[in-house]
């Protein structure tokens, strides 16, 4: 006898709520996932954890779109004469890739997902300071980014994610204005998230959670929020002027009308260089959480890592000119920007040395998050050092706008941010879902990503040094071998991305139940249940211990 459909749904609901029937459960507050079940309860939630999960789902969807565009770009570059796609299609493809990956994946990636979910728990708060504003910012993000996605995919935009004038203002005949409006609106979602985080960190810390007891992840969230707040409005204005220029021909960026296209580049990079640190700093925060746990050691030089985060967030406002060394910048300002860009290496190196020193003589466990973290450190060093090459005026003259630059920023963005994102996803997965992921698959995909990533982007350093310009799909035949190498590496990389999506999804239903603290970690987020109850803690926590309190507890035992 087949059961009537409504009772079938009832059975599924019971199974979701209580996957192991018959087991004795302790009567306690339902966790945030099981508090309410309807789709409506998710869409109207003000719970920072649920909003974090909503962000996680949406940016994963955008990541898939951006990665798909990247795959098509690599496919096109297998042959030297650009026969696979027309020039227009190729231009639109790299615009889709850039716009989606930067604005809808990398910038919200770690702050909006882990920042929303973990940061309030880390400081012992019940929620962020403005929960309804938090939900609003997700709605702004989703509606504006879906709108932009529609314009860049259905209509197509060929300016690249940088929207440089005068091409974007005068010459491009594509859907530039709607795409710009979408990006402007998405900016408000970042601003509101940043505002919410700054206020939360200032006002919502638990009793005893002093500034120097905050985990580094919270420090980096603070630094990132400062950039969101101070830099985003500037690009909002620049893009508004760009829209005005296309619609009303006001000409701030048009030399024929008395304006100056370089002014747009200044305003653009005044945001977009700090935006690099919006993408990188949270990754550094995640790595600073993972490394001490899997070394079971206190983070080396905690205060310096904290200062370095704020230092990077401040310095980054003074280096935007290094994107414009060959674009009509005076020698003096080029020199100043070059020197300041070198200064950025100092806080970055402080962090790298401190992570390495934390690993040194630690009790290492090479679980998946740690593999990602170690991969991050290596790739970030490569990306950072090639950044110094580019900050050198003489070398930049040679490799500007070549694949060398492309390889450099992918080492930072993918080798840095995306690896940290995946590492953090695995590290906090038990906390998010209450389930453990299969460790062997996790390690395998971490290795695949590391190998695939290097195979994809290391050849591009050589290509760029030999002179292959970025954003072209016609190239001399002698570059074909390196391009094929890069494209085949991207296949391995793609495989490495598919694995986590599959086994993490699998673990939601079949993974082992996670204990509150599967990694023997020390942060406040590991003192509450996995997944956490609706208000994060059964009893509001009081903090009387330093961050990364590993050594002290050892001696106590």
């Amino acid at each position: 006898m087949t059961p009537p459909p409504d009772s079938l749904i009832g059975t599924i609901e019971t199974a979701l709520r209580e996957p192991h029937p018959g087991r004795i459960t302790i009567d306690r507050e339902p966790d945030y996932l099981h508090d309410e079940h309807t789709l409506w309860s998710w869409l109207t939630t003000t719970d920072h954890k649920r909003i974090g999960i909503l962000y996680l789902l949406s940016i994963t969807a955008f990541f898939i779109v951006g990665a798909f565009a990247a795959g098509l770009i690599r496919l096109s570059l297998v042959v030297p004469n650009g026969q696979i796609f027309s020039n227009d299609t190729y231009n639109k493809l790299f615009t889709i890739h850039g716009v989606v990956m930067i604005w809808f994946f990398l910038i919200p990636s770690i702050p909006a997902t882990f920042g929303n979910f973990i940061m309030p728990i880390m400081i012992g708060a019940k929620d962020v300071a403005f929960p309804r504003l938090n939900r609003t910012s997700w709605y702004i993000f989703v509606s504006a980014s879906l709108f932009t996605l529609f314009t860049v995919v259905a209509g197509g935009v060929d300016t690249g994610w940088t929207f440089y004038a005068p091409f974007s203002t005068t010459f491009s005949n594509t859907w530039v204005v709607p795409a710009l409006i979408g990006v402007i609106v998405v900016g408000f979602s970042s601003i509101l998230t940043g505002l919410n985080f700054i206020v939360t960190i200032h006002t919502m810390r638990a009793p005893g959670m002093t500034w120097f007891r905050m985990p580094i992840f919270v420090w980096t969230m603070y630094a990132v929020s400062l950039i969101f707040l101070l830099a985003t409005p500037v690009i909002t204005m620049a893009l508004i002027l760009l829209v005005m220029e296309r619609v009303f021909h006001i000409g701030v960026f048009d030399p024929a009308l008395g304006g100056d296209p370089v002014l747009f580049e200044h305003l653009f990079w005044f945001y977009s260089h700090p935006a690099v640190y919006i993408m990188v700093l949270p990754g550094m925060g995640v790595i600073s959480e993972i490394v001490p746990v899997f070394s079971q050691k206190r983070l080396f030089g905690y205060r310096f890592v904290a200062y370095a985060s704020i230092g990077l967030a401040s310095l980054t406002f003074f280096v935007w000119g290094h994107h414009m060394f060959v674009n009509g910048e005076s020698e003096t300002s080029a020199l100043v920007f070059s020197v300041l860009s070198f200064a950025v290496a100092v806080p970055s190196a402080v962090k790298v040395y401190n992570w390495t020193a934390t690993i040194y003589k630690g009790t290492l466990r090479l679980d998946t998050p740690m593999l990602y973290a170690m991969g991050y450190i290596g790739l970030f060093v490569v990306g950072g050092l090639t950044g110094l090459f580019l900050a050198t005026l003489a070398i930049d003259e040679h490799v500007h706008d070549t694949y060398f630059v492309v390889a450099h920023f992918h080492y930072i963005m993918v080798g840095g941010t995306a690896l940290a994102f995946l590492g953090g996803l695995h590290y906090w997965w038990p906390k998010f879902t209450g389930r453990l992921y299969p460790e062997a698959w996790g390690r395998l995909s971490a290795f695949l990503i590391f190998i695939g990533f290097n195979a994809t982007f290391a050849p591009q350093f050589v290509l760029g040094y030999l002179g292959m310009p970025r954003r072209y799909h016609n190239y001399p035949p002698e570059f074909q071998l390196l391009n094929i190498l890069s494209s085949s590496g991207s296949l391995v990389l793609a495989l490495g991305y598919v694995f986590p999506m599959v086994y993490l999804g699998w673990s939601l239903r079949y993974g082992a139940k996670a204990p509150p603290n599967p990694w023997n970690a020390k942060g406040l987020e590991w003192t509450t249940a996995s997944p956490p109850p609706k208000h994060n803690f059964e009893t509001p926590p009081t903090v009387d211990f330093p961050p990364y309190d590993y050594r002290r507890r050892e001696t106590r035992v």
């Binding site: 708060a125 019940k126 929620d127 300071a129 403005f130 929960p131 601003i191 940043g194 505002l195 919410n196 700054i198 206020v199 939360t200 200032h202 006002t203 919502m204 707040l229 101070l230 830099a231 985003t232 409005p233 500037v234 909002t236 204005m237 620049a238 508004i240 002027l241 005005m244 009303f248 021909h249 006001i250 000409g251 701030v252 024929a256 009308l257 008395g258 304006g259 100056d260 002014l263 305003l267 208000h535 509001p540």
Partner: protein, 225 residues
């Protein structure tokens, strides 16, 4: 508390806030709300800063043609509007002070006075736009001849004048709308007991709009006149 309310003179309400569940203390909520508004104002300031930067750079690039444009801006309307907004900041401060002591009717009247001054600003601004239109100073209207010198950079500065004053006007319109809604809410019983701090926070925003105009006025109208 009811005894205290009974002792209070007529028309004086209790003042306080209604605490949301994720805050531990009233002080925390008040601090968070005020600090959040300061952060928002910081971001708004940088939004306008981009525009001021463009205006100043165009002034440096084309000093003569910008001066030619500024002499056609209606200095006295701008100056009157500056005074109007400064007075409105005083009335807004008055509304905040009265809301602190819980005098509901006085609070609402001062809020309405502030909204009236804000509207007066917008009316004067509209009249100024009308005069600009009359003088053929609207280069973005395709069907209408532009009467100032045909030098492209005067057109550019004129356009920037509309973008800047338009953005400021948008902020002011938002401010007046919020103020009217809030004045209506404050005229209902119980608002000051539950949401007095909203008036204070809105006050910050209002003073900010005033402050932005105080920068806009010299940057567009006064410099190099």
């Amino acid at each position: 508390m009811s005894a205290a309310a009974a002792q209070a003179p007529a028309g004086i309400a209790e003042v306080g806030i209604e605490r949301e569940e994720h805050f531990t203390t009233d002080g925390q909520q008040v601090h968070a709300a005020r600090f959040g508004m300061w952060c928002w104002l910081l971001t708004e300031l940088l939004l306008f800063a981009g525009l001021f930067l463009c205006a100043l750079i165009i002034r440096i690039m084309h000093p003569a043609s910008v001066t030619a444009t500024t002499t056609h801006l209606k200095f006295w309307i701008g100056a009157t509007n500056t005074a109007v907004l400064i007075v409105s900041s005083f009335t807004m401060s008055g509304a905040i002070e009265l809301s602190r002591i819980g005098w509901q009717r006085g609070t609402v009247r001062f809020m309405l006075a502030t909204a009236a001054l804000g509207t007066l600003f917008l009316v004067l601004k509209g009249y100024e736009y009308y005069q600009d239109f009359d003088e053929h100073m609207m280069p973005f209207l395709h069907g209408r001849r532009y009467a100032l010198a045909q030098d492209p950079s005067t057109i550019l500065f004129t356009d920037l004048y509309y973008v800047t004053t338009g953005l400021h006007g948008l902020h002011l319109t938002t401010g007046v709308s919020i103020l009217l809604v809030m004045a209506w809410m404050a005229s209902r019983p119980g608002f000051l007991q539950r949401h007095q701090n909203r008036i204070e926070i809105f006050g910050l925003y209002w003073h900010f709009i005033d402050l932005v105009w105080i920068i806009v006025f010299p940057v567009l109208y006064v410099l190099n006149r």
